[in-house]
């Protein structure tokens, strides 16, 4: 009977079976390194500290805390305000990069990433030097304090700009020129073309960018901790519960509450998917912007202003790494770069970080892109694709502290057969990869969705196996996006703190952790110096990407021209 039933089921083609198998592997990967650890930790929200069953008692205790509503509201409005500032700004910037003929685009593309290239302590220090109570520009705040919502929003705008600009520049980078020609032939005004062709084409990117920025702000505790004063937000509540009180149960409760944005993001993503049509069909003619001064000059001006602000903030921090002691001894010195004076590990933390970040980038870009591909191009029936898609959107909404703690409890558990990973560099690599998964996934999906599924259909009708189509068509076309993902992972792994702080061992302390330690010890200039070294490494990686990207572009993207 069983075999009859199996035989009568419609048989999957080899391609489809392969894609389905890939999807199962993807699901397995995300289950082991994301869902299970996180689930094990979040289950603690329903336990007492002794491990007994608490039901909804913890949740009830948290909801009745009077400060909760204040913190939740603060989180929501600072995140929404940040997104409302960042997304239009990033859109204009990305538009200038992709749809204008302004000069020095590659340079702006590199500068755009600056905030991601440095540990978050660097802008925080710069903001204190600029707008703190002894700050050089404190007059600009007109008597308001930088410690509080102003500081949070300013720092978050700086911090989130690259993520939004990255997503939007991928979304805007491919467009079908035929649509624009048709619109022009119909004598549509420029404003109308922008409204009816450009914006709808980038809609998916806009939604993603908004959701990403909102979620990043809600879950980040580093910025509110340093510059938020006592302005309460949800992310610092997690910090209080986990690090201040060692109350993992309540920490899990807040972590659970913070997952709400992920659920909303997922719903929005599904909504945007239903709205979309593949932008780039197989017959598309790539759009090549023609020079037009009235558009290019204002965009250039805007990009210059944004770039100047980004470089200015980083510049202040670089200067801060060269002075002896802010603000009382501003004489210049290189002593702050002699790290063995502050931390016995010295420079070795930098090499460790480089190794770790390189592994995250190599392994991560392969995994992220492959999973995105099998997810987007495989059959959509059953619950599996939806589950994988949801899992991929979760990491963004998980505060690093929660993910780090989840890894400790899951991988250090005596019954876990993967326990041998614990305490090695591998656990840092996997943790960072999962921590930064969502933005990479969105970038990959955006790139893949812009390709017409016809490529696969044609491949199939010519009896070319799907992996050949993937390897010879999809990957080359998407190579710029893959490179972007690899470098994004590299720089994020170089600068990450919140999750790995629970996972590093005596021989695997990353430089980004050393920065935090030096700052805690009151060695602000040395901390800035280490942050600048990290910035140097990540900048080199970014420049490397530009150089490789130029070559890759010439080889693989010629068809776009």
């Amino acid at each position: 009977m069983m075999s009859d039933a199996a035989l009568s089921r419609p048989r999957l083609s080899l391609d489809q079976a392969l894609m389905r198998g890939g999807l199962w592997l993807a699901a397995g990967f995300l289950a082991i390194f994301l869902v299970l650890p996180l689930g094990a930790l979040l289950m603690r929200a329903f336990e007492t500290p002794q491990g007994g069953f608490a039901g909804l008692a913890n949740l009830a205790a948290y909801v009745t805390t009077p400060a909760l509503l204040v913190a939740a509201w603060n989180s929501v409005w600072t995140a929404a305000l940040t997104a409302l500032i960042v997304v239009p700004l990033a859109f204009a910037f990305a538009y200038a990069l992709t749809r204008s003929c302004m000069p020095t685009k590659p340079l702006f593309r590199a500068v755009m990433m600056l905030p991601l290239l440095a540990p978050s302590l660097l802008p925080a220090l710069a903001l204190i030097y600029l707008f703190g109570n002894q700050g050089m520009l404190r007059g600009l705040l007109m008597g308001n304090s930088i410690y509080g919502p102003i500081g949070i929003v300013v720092a978050q705008v700086f911090h989130c700009f690259p993520s939004a600009a990255l997503i939007l520049s991928v979304a805007l980078s491919t467009a079908d020129a035929r649509l624009y020609e048709a619109a022009a032939a119909l004598k549509a005004s420029r404003a109308r073309i922008f409204r009816t062709v450009t914006l709808p084409g980038a809609r998916y990117g806009l939604v993603s960018a908004f959701v990403v920025v909102f979620t990043l702000v809600v879950t980040d505790f580093g910025i509110p901790k340093v510059i938020g004063g006592q302005f309460p937000v949800l992310a610092t509540d997690v910090y209080k519960q986990v690090v201040g009180l060692q109350n993992f149960n309540m920490g899990a409760v807040v972590g659970l509450v913070l997952l709400l944005p992920a659920v909303i993001a997922y719903a929005l993503d599904r909504w945007a998917t239903r709205q979309r049509a593949a932008t780039l069909s197989g017959r598309a003619v790539p759009l090549r912007p023609a020079p037009r001064r009235a558009r290019d000059l204002p965009l250039l001006a805007l990009c210059l202003v944004v770039a100047a602000l980004l470089v200015g903030i980083v510049g202040v921090a670089v200067w801060g790494s060269l002075i002896r002691f802010w603000p009382y001894n501003l004489s210049l010195t290189l002593d702050n770069y002699d790290f063995t004076r502050f931390d016995a590990a010295g420079w070795s933390t930098v090499w460790l970080s480089v190794r770790m970040a390189a592994l995250v980038a190599m392994i991560g870009s392969v995994i992220v892109f492959t999973i995105a591909y099998v997810l987007e191009r495989g059959r959509q029936d059953g619950a599996l694709p939806g589950m994988v898609r949801f899992a991929a959107s979760v990491p963004l909404a998980v505060p690093g502290l929660v993910l780090g703690l989840a890894y400790v409890m899951f991988f250090n558990h005596p019954a876990n057969p993967l326990g041998f990973l614990y305490g090695t560099l591998a656990i840092l690599v996997l943790n960072s990869l999962v921590h930064f998964y969502t933005v990479c996934h969105l970038t990959a999906v955006t790139a893949i969705r812009q390709l017409d599924p016809e490529f696969e259909a044609v491949g199939a009708s010519m009896r070319v196996p799907v992996w050949v189509t993937f390897w010879r068509v999809t990957v080359p076309i998407c190579l710029p996006a893959i490179l972007e993902i690899a470098v994004y992972l590299f720089v994020s792994a170089m600068t990450t703190v919140s999750a790995v702080i629970f996972l590093y061992g005596p021989d695997t302390k990353p430089a980004s952790i050393a920065v935090v330690h030096m700052d805690e010890a009151g060695q602000a200039s040395a901390a800035a110096a280490m942050a600048v070294v990290i910035l140097g490494v990540t900048t080199a990686a970014k420049l490397g990407q530009l150089a490789v990207g130029a070559v890759v572009g010439r080889v693989t993207q010629a068809w776009r021209r």
């Binding site: 410690y147 400790v408 409890m409 591998a426 629970f502």
Partner: protein
């Protein structure tokens, strides 16, 4: 295929290098000591125990405690050496400590060692909550030099003081505990309510009030005594004041983790941690040592320093911790907008 091979190679490089032939026992030691103290402590211990190697994992008190508790099911640390006694007592309550009375531990001051038999922890030294006072800012804004906690209630300090939020930072809780031990609970709440008017910020980090007072961000930061040394060496115009009206103190303590795979070596390190040579190393950084008769060599402390310490019942305070912190949060946390 080539990609796969590369990937496999990359993965292989992640696994720990095959343990190089070594006879020394490697002890995993978790600590919250200051970074600059790690090397001298390690050297002293390894000189005394030639077949033991110390591998530090250091982080702030909150992070390292959270990590130890999270690893409870399968402890990675062999020994905790240099962690707040409040954290140690929390772990004692969770049955995470291996009972052992180190050789010579009976000579320690009774208030600075475990009262159990066999002991669960031994003290190293005491550190106290103190006032970091920025003399340059004080001159600018006409702030008087405080010498007691009571002095901080002076309206001249309005919006000038930063202290760590006790819910986020062990330093904050230590300060709170000191006030309660000295003034009784009602008196302490009354004091804090009045102090609240002068607070500019309750920070999440225990080190931030002093670090930022040194930068002139605040006139006064409430923090720990040993914070200021590093800052002064860099040229910060900062004075460390140990108030004369009773300060809360905390101990740096040593304990063996239950479940250690190197029990014999861990015990020998615990023995060393209470020995005279170890105390002499602690004395380079701390003014009050657990072993009577060892003269600290750290400078800049008042002669009658030990008398300013409040009498503290660590266990009683540790048991009240949750309730005290809830009360504190209900009174002061998240209620006030940031002031200028």
């Amino acid at each position: 295929m080539r990609c796969l091979a590369l990937l496999a190679l990359a993965l292989a490089s992640l696994l720990p290098a095959a343990a190089e032939a070594q006879q020394r026992t490697r002890l995993m030691v978790y600590t919250a000591l200051e970074n600059e103290q790690l090397q001298p402590f390690k050297q002293a211990a390894e000189a005394a125990l030639r077949d033991i190697e110390i591998a530090w994992v250091r982080d702030s008190t909150g992070v390292i405690t959270a990590r130890l508790i999270a690893e409870r099911a399968n402890p990675r640390a062999d020994v905790v050496w240099g962690l707040s006694v409040f954290s140690i007592l929390q772990m004692e309550g969770l049955e995470m400590l291996e009972p052992y009375t180190p050789v010579g531990a009976d000579a320690l001051r009774p208030s600075m060692r475990s009262d159990r038999n066999p002991m669960t922890w031994t003290g190293m030294d005491a550190f106290v909550s103190a006032i970091c006072f920025n003399t340059a800012v004080a001159q600018q804004r006409n702030l008087p030099r405080p010498s007691t906690w009571e002095d901080l209630l002076n309206p001249a300090f309005r919006g000038q003081i930063a202290m760590p939020n006790p819910n986020s930072s062990g330093t904050g809780f230590l300060t709170l505990a000191g006030w309660i031990s000295r003034r009784g609970e009602a008196g302490a709440w009354d004091f804090m309510t009045r102090l609240h008017d002068n607070i500019q910020q309750y920070t999440h980090s225990g080190s931030s009030p002093c670090n930022n007072a040194a930068r002139g961000e605040f006139g006064v930061g409430i923090s720990l005594d040993m914070r200021a040394v590093t800052l002064r060496n860099q040229g910060a115009p900062i004075e460390i004041i140990v108030p004369t009206d009773g300060v809360g103190f905390d101990l740096e303590a040593t304990a063996i983790m239950r479940g250690t795979r190197n029990l014999a070596a861990a015990r020998r390190l615990a023995d060393f941690a209470v020995s005279r040579p170890a105390m002499e190393v602690y004395g380079r950084y701390y003014a009050l040592l657990a072993l009577p008769g060892v003269e600290p060599t750290v400078r800049g402390y008042p002669a009658a320093f030990a008398e300013r310490l409040v009498d503290a019942d660590f266990r009683a305070i540790a048991q009240e911790r949750d309730r005290l912190l809830r009360d504190w949060a209900a009174r002061f946390d998240g209620k006030s907008a940031p002031r200028n």
